[in-house]
């Protein structure tokens, strides 16, 4: 998505102790997708990358829940 790993601790901080359920994981994924600034190139468009980020972040959180 970018030259370096992207982390947005403020997004997770907003969750503030709430249980990590699917709804929260989805919301965090959605907000990560909003925050990244992917490029469009031959490997994929920016919109596609945003969409996949939302999915993969949600899945990563669900995996550790």
């Amino acid at each position: 998505m970018a030259g370096r790993p992207q982390a947005f601790p403020d997004v997770c901080a907003d969750a503030g102790g709430a249980p990590l359920d699917r709804a929260l994981a989805t919301e965090i994924g959605r907000r990560y997708a909003e925050r990244i600034a992917p490029i469009s190139d031959a490997r994929g468009s920016a919109e596609y990358r945003r969409r996949v980020v939302a999915v993969e972040v949600r899945r990563a959180l669900e995996a550790i829940a």
């Binding site: 031959a42 596609y48 969409r51």
Partner: protein
Amino acid sequence: MSTIGLDPRVVGTQRYSAHVQRPGMWHAAFVRSPHAHARVDRVDASGVPDGCVALLPEDVADVARYGCQARDQHVLAGVARYAGDIVAAVAAPTRAAARAAAAAVAVDYSELPAVFDAVEAVAPGAPLLHATTAESAGEAVSIGVRPLPGTNVCHRFGIRHGDVAAGFAEADVAIQREFRTPGAAHAPMEPHATLAEWEDGRLTLVTGTQTPFNLRADVALAFGMPDEDVRVVAPPMGGSFGAKTFVRLEAVVAALARKAGRPVKAVLDRTEEFLTLNRHPATIRVRVGARRDGTLVAKELDCWVDTGAYADCGPGVATKLGYAGVGPYRIPHVRVDSLAVYTNLPPNGAYRGYGAMQSVWASERTMDALAGELGISPLELRRRNLLRDGDTFATGEVMHDVHFDECLGAAAAAVGYEDDPRGAGLCVLLKGMQTPSRAAISVERTPVGYVVRSASCEMGQDVRGSIRLMAAEQLGCEPGQIEIPDPDTDTTPFDTRTTSSRSTHMMGRALVEAVRDLRANGGERGFGEVRNEGGLDPDTGQGIASTHWHQGAAAARVRVDEETGRMTVEHVHGVAYAGRVVDRTGAELQNEGAMTMGLGTALFEALEFADGQVANANLSDYNVPAAGDLPARFTHELIEREGAEAHGLGETVLPPVPAAIGNALHSLGIDVFELPLTPERVLEAIDRR
């Protein structure tokens, strides 16, 4: 450690064209247009250091236009028609010095409007790439070339069989779909490499080529020489897949050697490989009509085949693409119009499959769409319509030695299609073998065995291994006693060319004649020549497209991550009708290699262009399949028949792989019409479902 008996490719002793050395040899580098379409106003070589030789437009004014099917190419382009077109060249004592000198050549251009899409290139008002071209006379032209004057269409191939209007009137259901395939790179491991040397008015070319005799004829014609004054020697190639065919570097390197007065060798770098010859992109519209019970009654194909800046064998590709797109089916009414169209992209030419992948993608994906409309299984729809022995194909020829049903059945069974069609897809195809063509071979006894001279060129397929096996069997000796020298047009008998998966079949037949001749004449030497006759009328598509047909099928099973579009191909199975297998291991490897290339086409291979420049001209951005890309189950089989002819299969199972995977997606309601099947395209199709 002794390397005797070990494959030279494995132990590193194989010598390729790039290794050729000649006394006094210099190295070539090329000045290439950065513009996709531009007039060359001035070439200024004053910056080229002393001790280098520059090849300029005035040096080649006497060299005629050339081209295997349309004579539209020049040694140096006076009008650059693609970004990468060679406008000047330099020879120097080292490769590095040549490249530095080439960079010192200053060229003034006047840019011209450019077009980068075949459909746009035939629209009114599109910039015209070639004012006039002469049809090429020669062995390469097995079809009459039919340009449309005043347009970018360098060839129009048509099939007119029956009456499509009447056919569609009879149809209970008719559907139309449009498909696209991108350009692709052959990406052989070994780049193009050519050495040219003049001596006493004779030109010798040592070059990686699949087409030594075509090359000799076209270079001789360009330089105004008799064929016999040009000698082509063809060392083994480290892969080619069609990239090393007809005139590529040979004319410009010969011109450089002529000016330099010494042998000159050119070896391309990887970037240049993407600017030399690629695969035809295509846009194909299919319309098919059927009765309620699934009987096909009418089919129309409109094909726009992007041949790039120069025709090369685009007319032949458009022709083969055109009739392969009809499919192995009984259809009484067929119209095909397949156009080879100029665009300002690098030239496109022979690529394993020769147009079949593009039209099979369109045709076989449409079959599944039709099956859906009719509520019939895709397997059953095909079975109802497959050609059988004695049926007439859309070219008017009667089919014999037909095995489509068996190929399709084997593919379906391998993936358990009938038990579980969801997530599975099928494809069955027919592909032609170069018709007409001619192959000759000679056999001479030696103190230890025999020398067999065949112009079949090695590109990794081990054709000489097959010839050795066939010769040993017929002559009653061991394969190791048979020596087969590299093709050399001075001493090797004529062969049309090493393309179209024809060599084992044609050389096998020629060998039978040669051995018969040898036995009848004292056992010392024999010569055999065979032809396969036929050809198609380019306007009606009637005649004999192929004296025997390459027949095959593929099946695929996939699963899809529907949130990301990422597809996992679980199983691909390829089936090729082989008839008689000569070299079993070789045949199996051909199936594997063809399927692997088909997988690359299906999943990720596409040339990207920006203003006509290749944007992914390296193997990091242009990906070819690696071991980790293969499906967990990657299987194939050969169908054989006692007493049958050897059927070529070097290409057969490439074209059906993308269609089988595309149809597997279709079974999940995911309809993709353009290759490659990237996750983004799959996701977009899921959104549309």
